[in-house]
Amino acid sequence: MTSLERKESLIRITLLLVAFSAVSVLVMITFFIFGEGTPIMLRYGLKKFLFNLDWFPTQGSYGLLPMIVGSILVTSGALMIGVPFGLAGAVFLTEFSSKKMRRIIKPVIELLAGIPSVVYGFMGVVVLVPFIRETFGGPGLSVLAASIILGIMILPTIISISIDSLEAVPPSYREGSIALGATRWQTTRMVMFPAARSGILASIILGMGRAIGETMAVIMIAGNAIAIPRTPLEPVRTLTSNIALEMAYASGEHREALFATGVILFLIIMVLNTAANLTSRKRGR
């Protein structure tokens, strides 16, 4: 083996090792989060942990149900707002706008993704929460406020991935439909949507993941009360805010319980990731 060849094979091996960095980080995260979080789940009882309504860490009572319900409510609310807006934006940009317009609007929407989540939360506190309080009553800090802000935050995810999947539909589909005399909207509804269905579904699943995982904005506007809300105007606490609110001072078993909250969150996210990955892979075939 010449020295050049030896160098080349050394580089190849180094790059292979480097390429496993992302996977190793994922494994490490899983290992440490589960390592800290699972013992208390087993000790306390998984069923009690998931379905108990009381979260009083100082008295050794760790029921996560209000937070699980909170995350589900806030995420569903976000999807109700984010999905119609996101799909409308994606369809408008791919099917109903000129190339020039798209060149201006697309970066603007990407900018929406760049705004820090604390700024969204802050806007919620100073603009949206007072508005909700004055218009609908209640404390303002609520499921509704969190849903609206999260709905806006997941827009860029839904729009950009839906655009990608609409653009991936072969142009001949659209041309064929238009040639048969269909309008743009008929073409979109009957040809483009079915053809891009799996990508659009993946965009919604990923948006859902973003909404469940969002922390800082939700802490600032959801009110954080540990109770299952009866109306959208009542405050709520999510899994993420539960971790972030109490991490600063938690210790011992309490801290373990917060890591266990992280385990639940992590599992939900991994299920969503895998689902998005599988749906978008189906499209590739």
Binding site: L16, S21, L26, I29, R103, G114, A244, N273
Partner: protein, 278 residues
């Protein structure tokens, strides 16, 4: 009753236009609102003095330094790994089980919420490795978080380099590594830089992952073992604890300006160098 399809088309078109316009309006409103309230607070003094009385008076100098230190550290660690991964995936192998595992890992990592990164960084770097709340812990955590972004953008940039470039290089007798370093990477550089800039933007705006790893000390950091508060964390604490609304607006304005510059820069790079984007 069914609508005439032409009327329907017109209705849908105006509906879609309305939704899109509202989205853009929201964005413009946020930026305008923050800048309108924040820009008057900005001054030379605001940028270059340290916060005093928990941030009630003084400026945000130490948080700017803290943010810069964390971002530099995160980028310095994440870029070699991200770029290396992208090079391996594009130049050194074909699609197979290994690449599928690597891609799936990167995709999953991209979907993990920042609070989980915060928990992980806290348990590994702050507690187990005893780095404490520090720039080192925060930088490492952020590096892990932006790794998928760097992998994805570098991979796209490398894939956009025409095959003919490589063929010419190989035909001249270059090795794979020579081709990568002298032909592929220079042409892919603008795309790679774009990924790095995007990661800088994400790191600047990050709060949840940083607050539990870098801490929230207001002093000027002196080494990578100092705890430091970033601008986002500072803004969060100012706003949430109601310490000073003017200073919260001021800090938010600096954040928004930084994000605007970063997005303009990436837009410029992408539209200039990556034809696919236009």
């Amino acid at each position: 009753m069914r609508l005439d399809r032409r009327t329907e088309q017109k209705l849908v078109q105006s509906g879609l236009w309305f939704f899109t316009a509202l989205t853009i309006f929201i964005l413009i409103f946020i930026i305008f609102f923050i800048l309108k309230n924040g820009l008057p607070v900005l001054s030379f003094k605001f940028f270059f003095t340290n916060p005093r009385e928990m941030g009630r008076t003084g400026g945000i100098f130490s948080t700017i330094v803290g943010t810069a230190a964390l971002v530099v550290m995160a980028i310095l660690i994440a870029t070699p790994f991200g770029l290396g991964t992208a090079i391996y995936l594009t130049e050194y192998t074909r699609e197979n089980v290994v690449t599928r595992i690597i891609r799936f890992g990167a995709e999953c990592l991209a979907g993990i919420p920042s609070i989980i990164f915060g928990l992980f960084g806290f348990i590994l770097f702050v507690t187990k490795l005893k780095f404490g709340w520090s720039i080192l812990s925060g930088g490492l955590t952020l590096a892990f978080m932006v790794l998928p972004t760097i992998i994805r953008t570098s991979e796209e940039a490398i894939k956009a380099v025409p095959w003919a470039y490589r063929e010419v290089s190989y035909s001249l007798g270059s090795t794979r590594w020579q081709t990568v370093t002298r032909v592929v990477l220079p042409s892919a550089l603008p795309g790679i830089v774009t990924g790095v800039i995007l990661s800088i933007g994400r790191s600047i705006g990050e709060t949840a992952a940083v607050i539990f790893t870098a801490g929230s000390a207001l002093r000027l950091p002196t080494s990578i073992y100092s705890s430091s508060r970033t601008m986002s964390v500072h803004f969060y604490i100012l706003a949430r604890e109601g310490i000073s609304m003017p200073h919260a607006y001021g800090t938010a304005a600096v954040l928004i300006l930084a994000i605007l510059v970063i997005n303009l820069l990436t837009y410029f790079l992408m539209s200039r160098f990556m034809r696919k984007y236009c």
